[in-house]
Structure formats: C-alpha cells, structure tokens
C-alpha cells in the first residue's frame, strides 16, 4: 500500500483572493505530489511499508531523513488543505472556543501568539495549534517537521497549521509573509479544526 496524494476538497481558485489559484495548483500538484512520491520511494521495499503516516512520524528519529522530510511534507500538506475552506465560520465555536479561551485567555491572545509563531519561524517551516490533552499550545517547527514527530520540541496533536515555506505565498505575496498570514485567517475552516480537536 502506498500513500496517495489527496484531492483538494475545493477548487484551486476557491480561496481567491486570499490564496491565488496558481499558488494552490503548484503547491498541490508539484510540492505536495513530490513529497508523496518521494515518501513512497523512501519506504518501498522496506519494513516501513504498510505503516500509517502517524506511526512513521512517531518514531521518526530512528528513520531515514528522507522519511522525515517527505513523510512530514505529506502529512503537513494533507492537514493544511483540510483546515482551509472558502466561507467558513470566522471564529471557533463551542468546545474549541472554550479550550482556546482557557489556554490563551482569549481568541485574540491566541491569534496573536499563532501569528507571531508564523512570522518568526526563520527559514522554511510551519506554525501550529497543538492539542495536548485538554489544553492547547502554539508552536512552530522547521522545514517539514511537525508536533507528531518524536523529535519535536513541542509534541501533541496538530489541529491547525500554517505553511510558511516561501512556496506557500511567494507568487502572490513575495517577501510580505505578514500579508499572507493575515489572509490565512480569513480562510480557516474552523469546523475542521473543531473536528480535529474532538479527536
């Protein structure tokens, strides 16, 4: 069994003008597709074949660097596409909202912390909202690492993530990462984030 590049749950132009169709198409059909096929190539014919992506990530420190880079890239982009959508709720609701309030004090505090993590990640990487038991924390990871990896400084279950590799925003925003992060807030699919929070 090999890993498959998922279809996006919406059209490439669905997140316009926040994220442009060309960026979405290259990001999905080139970058995500390459991580997927490189992951399959890295595990094909090894004892890793047949393991779930979560199993691979949990013991990533013992696995070849190609599995770390491409397995991370495969998982992270799967999450990224799903936690975005056109026309979602503007803010979290229900239990997720309560958990954000109790972990960060308020939604605004959380938004500020997550934005800061996304802006200050130097080089390529991701910023995350991570579930640890009943509470939530913000973290960031370099390159294609993520909080499910045993090498992550902050471990837990990622329920929201923003890709801050330049390929995620350069065609539309160039050096202006803050504008991309600002736009990202407008396309978050809070229903999907809430689903991941429930687990």
């Amino acid at each position: 069994m090999s890993f498959e590049l998922p279809q996006l749950p919406y059209a490439y132009d669905a997140l316009e003008p926040m994220i442009d169709a060309r960026t979405m198409e290259i990001h999905h059909t080139k970058h995500h597709a390459a991580y997927t096929s490189n992951l399959n190539n890295a595990i094909q014919g090894t004892e890793l074949e047949g393991k779930t992506i979560e199993e691979l990530l949990a013991s990533i420190s013992k696995l070849p660097v190609a599995v770390r880079n491409n397995g991370g890239g495969f998982f992270n982009h799967n999450l990224y596409w799903e936690i975005m959508s056109p026309g979602g709720a503007p803010q979290p609701e229900g239990d997720l909202q309560k958990a954000i309030n109790s972990s960060f004090g308020s939604y605004d505090n959380f938004k500020e912390a997550f934005t800061k993590a996304a802006l200050t990640r130097f080089g390529s990487g991701w910023a995350w909202l991570v579930k640890q038991g009943d509470s939530l924390v913000v973290s960031s990871t370099p390159n294609q690492d993520n909080p499910l990896m045993d090498v992550a400084e902050v471990k837990g279950s990622p329920i929201l993530g923003i890709d801050v590799w330049e390929h995620a925003y350069y065609l539309k925003y160039q050096n202006r990462r803050p504008e991309y992060v600002d736009a990202f807030w407008k396309v978050i699919n809070w229903d999907e984030v809430a689903k991941r929070f429930k687990g």
């Binding site: 290259i26 080139k30 970058h31 390459a34 660097v65 880079n69 130097f122 080089g123 390529s124 990487g125 370099p142 390159n143 294609q144 590799w165 330049e166 390929h167 350069y170 065609l171 160039q174 050096n175």
Partner: protein, 191 residues
C-alpha cells in the same frame, strides 16, 4: 556604525533571462535590504554595536546572527554574478578544482547536487580550508562557512525566494541557469 546595502555591480536586468529583473528587485531590493535593516535595528546596545560584519557572522547568535549572516551571504552571492561572466575557472583555481574534485565537470555535478538536495532554506558553498583544499558544503537557513573557519569562494542561494518567481518548484532549472551567470573571474579573485 550602521550597515548599508551595497550597490549592485550590474543593472537589475543584467542577468536576464537567467535571473529575472523582478527576482533581483525582490531578492536584493527587499530581502537583502530587510536583513540590513533588521541587523541595524538589533545591534544597538549589544556587544556587536561597533563590530564588523565578519565578527558578527562568526560570534553572534539568534536574530543578530540570522540577519548578519544573511547580509554577508547575500552580498557574497550578488557580487559573484556578471552579464558577461567567465564561465569556467582558469589558472591556479582550475588546478585546485582539478586536484580536489578530479575535474571541473565532476565538481560542477557535485555542487549541483549539493544545491539541489539542501532541504528547506539554505545555501551551497565552494570553500577552501586552511590547508588550501577545496570542498563543497551545505548550510541551512543563514548558515555561513566563515563560522567553521572556512574561506567561502562562491555560493548558491537555495532559499525559495531566490528562484520562485522565475522557476517556482523547479530548483534544478534555477541551478542550471545559475552556472550561466556565475563569473569565475570573481571566484578566482576570492581564491
């Protein structure tokens, strides 16, 4: 003493079609400039306030290192290009490359591989060690071989901002074009 963005030794469109004017405008005009500005904002009141750039690259950490090294790396990168480059090394540098790598073609292949396989943001370098031997090294993010006591001779920036407007995900195509504007005269002077 504030650091300044050095003027480019060529016009912004001089490297067309290999590196576009638009890429130079952003890469030099925005990214390089931002590293200079950030560095100038970070050093007042620190031990690096009056330090030269090499000292900052070698000794600092955190934000001062990231921005200081990126200033150094980018100046080093931009100054090695020319619209009418010497496309191969000659003289003593050519001999050193032959001695260290077997041939210029073998070197070029190894350097291309180093630039293509650096995962994430970073740089590939041709360096000279203190015995005069040449080597190829990769550094992540702002990493700079000066910190390891090596003498950089030339470099390829493989942060996506160096090529994304022109080549998008096709980093190998960027590296192929990089060779066409790299001026070996400059590399020889550094050697």
């Amino acid at each position: 003493m504030a650091f300044e963005l050095p003027a480019l030794p060529y016009a912004k469109n001089a490297l067309e079609p290999y590196i576009s004017e638009k890429t130079i405008e952003f890469h030099y005009g925005k990214h390089h400039q931002a590293y200079v500005n950030n560095l100038n904002n970070l050093i007042p009141g620190t031990e690096f306030e009056n330090a030269d750039l090499e000292t900052i690259v070698k000794k600092s950490e955190g934000g001062i290192f990231n921005n200081g090294a990126q200033v150094w790396n980018h100046t080093f990168y931009f100054f090695q290009f020319s619209a009418s480059p010497a496309t191969e090394p000659s003289g003593a540098l050519k001999s050193a490359i032959d001695d260290s790598f077997g041939s210029f073609d073998t070197f070029k292949e190894a350097f291309t591989k180093a630039a293509a396989t650096l995962f994430g943001s970073g740089w590939a370098w041709l360096v000279k060690d203190n015995t005069g031997k040449l080597n190829i090294v990769q550094t992540g993010n702002a990493g700079c071989p000066l910190r390891e006591g090596l003498t950089p001779l030339m470099t390829c920036d493989v942060w996506e901002h160096a090529y994304y407007l022109d080549k998008q995900n096709l980093r190998p195509k960027y590296i192929e074009d990089f060779w066409k504007v790299l001026d070996w005269k400059v590399v020889e002077e550094r050697f």
